[in-house]
Structure formats: C-alpha cells, structure tokens
Amino acid sequence: MQKLQITDSILIQMKIKNFALTAALVLAGTAFFQQTATAQTPVVYTDGDLFMGFRSSTATNDYLWDIGQFSQFTNLAAGTHLALGNISADLTTVFGVNWASNNNIQWGSAGTHDFDSSGNQIVNLYATKAEPTLGTLASPWLRQSTSNQGFTSSRIETLAFFGFFGNTSTANNPNAIIQPTLGTSWASFQPGGANTTGGTSFDTWNPTVEAPGNVPFGTGIPTTRLDLFEILPDNGGLNPPSTYLGTFSIDSLGNVSFDTLPIPEPSTYALLIAGGLLALFVARRQRKSNINA
C-alpha cells in the first residue's frame, strides 16, 4: 500500500494544531478568533474535538465548525465565560444576511473522546441539548454502556473523517467548513438526514442535540441556548444522568460563547432546605407565642 508524502504534512498539521490549541488554552483559556479573511487551509480533526453544526431546512449547505478540545469546557469554575469566536460572516454566507432571525436554522454540538493518552478506548461523549426555556437547564442525556457509546462514537468519527477532515476551511474561520447537506455532512447525521435513523442525532440522541428541536420555530437561534453534557460510559446498567458542563449561546451579531452557569451544589440545596425549615420553625414559634399572648 502506498504512503504518500502528504502523510507527513498531515501529521505535522495535527501536531501544529495540538500545539496551537495548547498555546491558546494557556494564553487565553479558549480558542477565540476574529472573523477576518485568512488563507483557506485544509481543516484537521483531533480525537476529543467537539463539533458545532448549523443547518437550515431551506439551505443546501450547512456550516460545520471544529470548536476544539473538550477539555476547554471541563472543570471550569461556575461563572466562567469563554468567547469562542464570531461566525457572523460565515453564517451570512451560508444562510443569508437575515440568519439571526431565520427560524429554519438549527444549531447543536457533539463530539467524542475515543482514546485516552495511553491509547485505551474510553468513548467519552459530549452532546448538547436545547434548554426548554431560556434559563431552564435541559434534562441531561443518559450515560450508556461502553459498547453503546462506541456505536455513537463511530458515527461522530465518520462525520469527522469523511465529512470534515481535509476539506478546505472558510476564509473566515480556519477550523470550519461549508459543506453540502448531503453525504456525510453534519445535517446528514441529524434527524431526517441520510446517515441516521429514527429521527435522532447520530443514531443516538432522541430527538436531537440541536436547538430548536423542530423548525420552523421561534425567532432565530440567538433566542435559544444549548446545554453541554459530558457523557461518560456507564456499564452498570442503570444509565445515570450525564454531567452538565455549561451552556452555549450565540448573539445576533454572531458571537458564540460558553458560560458555566451556577448550578446549586447538594450542600447548597441542604443549606436552602435547612434555612427554609428554620424560617418555618421561627414563624411557627412566633405564631404560637402570639396566640399564647
């Protein structure tokens, strides 16, 4: 079997990308970029990268963006704000200038971390879910067995290597492509797409990792938010809930950000309950003393 010279070049690109990503994380805590015209280069994918996809029921192309490693979204303190970049120019190219108010557009994010640093298969999954109403946390996706999650990982890797890797980036975002909705595109793995069955995302998430869940709906994606969950395999057969990591949002100017919203800890719940009980106790005492008086 032939091995072409491109092999080394791709490997170097992968290494450069890893280095660049590490540097970006160290310097800024996130991979923010400004949408300015740059050289269009072949995009690369590294295990553990998360994709963010945008599609419209009325468009022939979708927009697929490799937003970087999962690790930038994990173990963040509550209240952390990450600015991921501005994609207005690309969304305008794909969906038109009124993309922000177009109620046929859906967006979502998913990824797989297939192997640990030792090469062991771990199949950690990452997927978003639309908030039912802004500010209300989506119910978490459930964790599945290693085998089950491996099935999903295979689907995401098919998108990564046959739908994304090696394609030419947009002029505005070195890690994103505009692709026909057919073949092995982001859209093809979403409900109604050719590479998924039963109206699910990646043959797994029912109904979808996207917001809004159905189109046409609402007044555009800036009025939606996506909660991101880390879905580690669970082989106990109980399918416990996955872990909430934070929330993606996009404003009408095309700025995409990730925020870790404060989720009450169990101890906080305990304090609140204790405080409530104490207040009830005090009120009752006061009422009793008033009656006695």
Binding site: M1, E157, T158, G183, T184
Partner: protein, 412 residues
C-alpha cells in the same frame, strides 16, 4: 541506385524500430475481490498469435497481486500491467492520477506464465510507480469518497463523457461477498445479520451471545476488515446500513508481534488496527485494515486467542479457499440475514434477490484516456460482461439496485 537502396533499407529499419517502440502501455488496478475474473479475461483478450508472454507474483495466477503481459490485442502490440490496490484505491488512483506500484519492465515472462515474481507493493522489492489507466471497482464512483473533492484533491468523474458501448454505467458483472467466521466458533454460530454487522463494526467487538442466544458473556467476537481502499469494505458497510463511508473499529490479529496474513495458525493478540495513512488519507485507530482480501480471509482462518472469535467480510474468490465449514479445520461461511450463498455459490440466490450481499462490478477509465488504451479497456469490459463474468451475469439478473447497498428490487 545503391544510395536509394541504402536509404530504403534505413527507412525500413527505422519503421521496424518505431513499430517495436509503439507498444501501448496499459496499467490496470482496482478490485482485489474481482481480480480472479479480471485476470482470466485479460489472458482471453490477447491475440492467440504471437502467444502472450506473462509473469506474475505468487504461485497462483488468478490470485496474484501484480502481473505483466507482453503480446498483441487486436493486432496492436501491448504491454499490460496489473497491480490490485482495492476498488476505492483504484478509483482514487485512476481519477486522481496517482501512481501505483507495478512490476518493473524487464522481469521474467514466458508463454506459460512465470510465477514467483517479487510483489512490487512490498517494501524493498523492485517496482515501477506508474499512473494506472483502468480501474476495476466493486462500487459506483458516486458511493466512493473519491468523487469530487476529498482531502483537498479533485477526483473527476470517470467515464462521464466516454463510455463503453454495450454497458450500463460501466457495469461488467456481479461481484459477490460472504461473511466468514474463524476457527473455534460454536456450532450454533451460523448467521450474520445487518443489525449484528452494524453493532460489531461500530464497536469492534461484541458478545457471542448476540449470535448464539447463549448466556456466554465472556466470549467476544472481534471484527476483522479491510482498509478504506477496499470496495469490499464499502459494499459491506453500505449493505448492512452502517454507511458506505463509516469510520469503524476493526482489529489486527498478531502472532509473535507480527500481523497475521496466512491461515492455519494461532493468533496470540487482537488489538485495534493502528493509526495509518492510505494514499494520504488518515485512518484513525481501528479504522484501518487489510489491503488484500486474500490476506483477510486467511487471517480469519486461524485459531483465535481464548474467549475470542473472529468474523470478517470477503469476496467469494478469497473466502472460498479458506472455507471448510468445520471449526477445527478452517473458516465457516455464515449465512447473511438467514440465506447461505453456498460453496460453490448458488447464483439463483443473487439473481432472484434472496441474497443481497453483492455489488455491481465496474470498469472505469478517464475520459482523457488515449483511444488505443480505451479500445483495449472496452474490449476487456465487453469480454467480461458477455463471457467471463461468473454467474449470475448482469443480463441474467432478475433484480436490481440503484447504488451500493440500496434496496434490491425485482425487475419484473
């Protein structure tokens, strides 16, 4: 007068030289699953006189990895070379005009065929990198990754404006596939379903209970497969609903730290196929596989490690030599969705639509292929279509499908 005679003789000599030099080079690559039929047919299209001289790698002509032929086709002198890279590799290298390693000029040939030539695709062996002209493919180019732009390279449509008169979409026959299981399988391990294939190849291994209904959760079945240059792989994944371009998990059988490529031994380890690059295309860990159907079928025909069983997919030509249907002595043919193709194959099961693990064999070349090469390609295509293709022939099919893995529908 003497001068005129000298000039005439000189002109004749130059003419002879130019005839000798006008040997048309033709390079053929592509499907390993169909190479047996292709090689048989290649010999059949050479003129009987002067007798074709040829040489090939390995010991069996019809399963050789590479070969070279010197002779005449339709009265024209031809130097024809074959090097089988897999169907997808064939489409990629013919459309993208990427070199393939062929046998070098000057190797030993004879009228009866000289065997044992060194495989030019093996590192260290003499080879001649040449752009192939013709690709045999088990799949439609439209199903292939090498259609349009892929990894920044443009792969133009083959035979888009120049086609072989007498063929439909360059289809020359039916290529047939089988699921095979390795040694040590239990007696009730007899069938492969689309569902099981999707499960097994998405993950790489699955419990044997899924096949047998037993409560044995300790023994696992491991997926063995081909690399992305393979049309057999594409057909297998398209047919089972996994997706023609699915990224999967396949295992690499090793003995003593060396990849197993022969039959009859004992495999010591099974690990995910390591990351590799095939013709510049990255194959992440687990997604790689054998570059040859023959090696895959042979590898499956081994005793697996404890608590392990092996399953693979293969063209019938590569599978049949390994099949004994006795788990102690060889590989076992699995029925597919409950239908057993058999050994020898029952062509009615395919032509009537009961067995669906098959594809259309195509013969592709570039629109820009020189006319003398295209003429030979057309001759070969029609010879296979009308005479040499194994049963069922394309014309005998009572069912059809619109693309690889598509629903099989009756034609009547």
């Amino acid at each position: 007068m003497k001068l005129i005679r000298t000039l005439t003789l000189g002109a004749l000599a130059l003419g002879c030289l130019s005839v000798a030099q006008a040997q048309t080079p033709i390079r053929i690559t592509g499907s390993t699953a169909f190479r047996g039929t292709a090689l048989t047919s290649i010999l059949n299209i050479f003129d009987p006189s002067p007798a074709v001289q040829y040489g090939y790698t390995g010991t069996t002509y019809t399963s050789s990895k590479a070969a070279i032929f010197l002779g005449n086709i339709g009265g024209n002198s031809v130097k024809l070379k074959t090097s089988w890279s897999g169907s997808e590799g064939g489409i990629q290298t013919v459309s993208g005009q990427i070199t393939v390693k062929f046998l070098p000029d000057g190797v030993a040939v004879s009228t009866g065929g000289t065997s044992g030539l060194p495989d030019p695709t093996v590192a260290g062996n003499a080879n001649s990198p040449e752009v192939p002209d013709i690709a045999f493919s088990d799949t439609f180019q439209s199903s292939s990754a090498f259609s349009g732009t892929f990894f920044g390279v443009n792969y133009p449509a083959l035979n888009s404006s120049v086609t072989t008169t007498g063929t439909t979409n360059q289809i020359i026959g039916i290529v047939q596939f089988k699921w095979i299981a390795g040694r040590s399988i239990p007696a009730n391990f007899t069938n492969m379903t689309s569902q099981l294939a999707r499960n097994l190849y998405s993950i790489g291994s699955a419990g044997v209970a899924l096949w047998t209904g037993s409560t044995d959760h300790a023994t696992k079945v491991f997926a063995i497969g081909r690399d992305i240059d393979s049309g057999t792989r594409l057909t297998s994944f398209a047919e089972t609903g996994l997706g023609a371009k699915a990224v999967v998990k396949q295992f690499e059988p090793k003995t003593g730290g060396v990849r197993v490529t022969t039959a009859g031994g004992t495999i010591s380890t099974l690990t995910l196929w390591p990351l590799e690059f095939v013709n510049g295309i990255v194959e992440p860990p687990g997604n790689g596989g054998y570059s040859s159907g023959g090696q895959l079928a042979a590898a499956v025909n081994n005793f697996p490690p404890a608590n392990s069983l092996l399953v693979g997919y293969s063209g019938t030509g590569d599978a049949d030599p390994q099949i004994t249907n006795n788990a102690s002595t060889g590989a076992t043919e699995l029925s597919y969705n409950g239908v057993t193709l058999g050994k020898p194959e029952n062509p009615d099961l395919i032509s009537e639509g009961a067995y669906t693990f098959w594809g259309y064999e195509h013969l592709y070349y570039r629109d820009s292929t020189p006319s003398d090469v295209a003429t030979v390609a057309d001759t070969l295509a029609l010879r296979i279509l009308n005479t040499d293709a194994p049963a069922p022939k394309f014309a005998a099919m009572q069912v059809s499908r619109n693309t690889d893995g598509a629903v099989v529908i009756q034609k009547y």
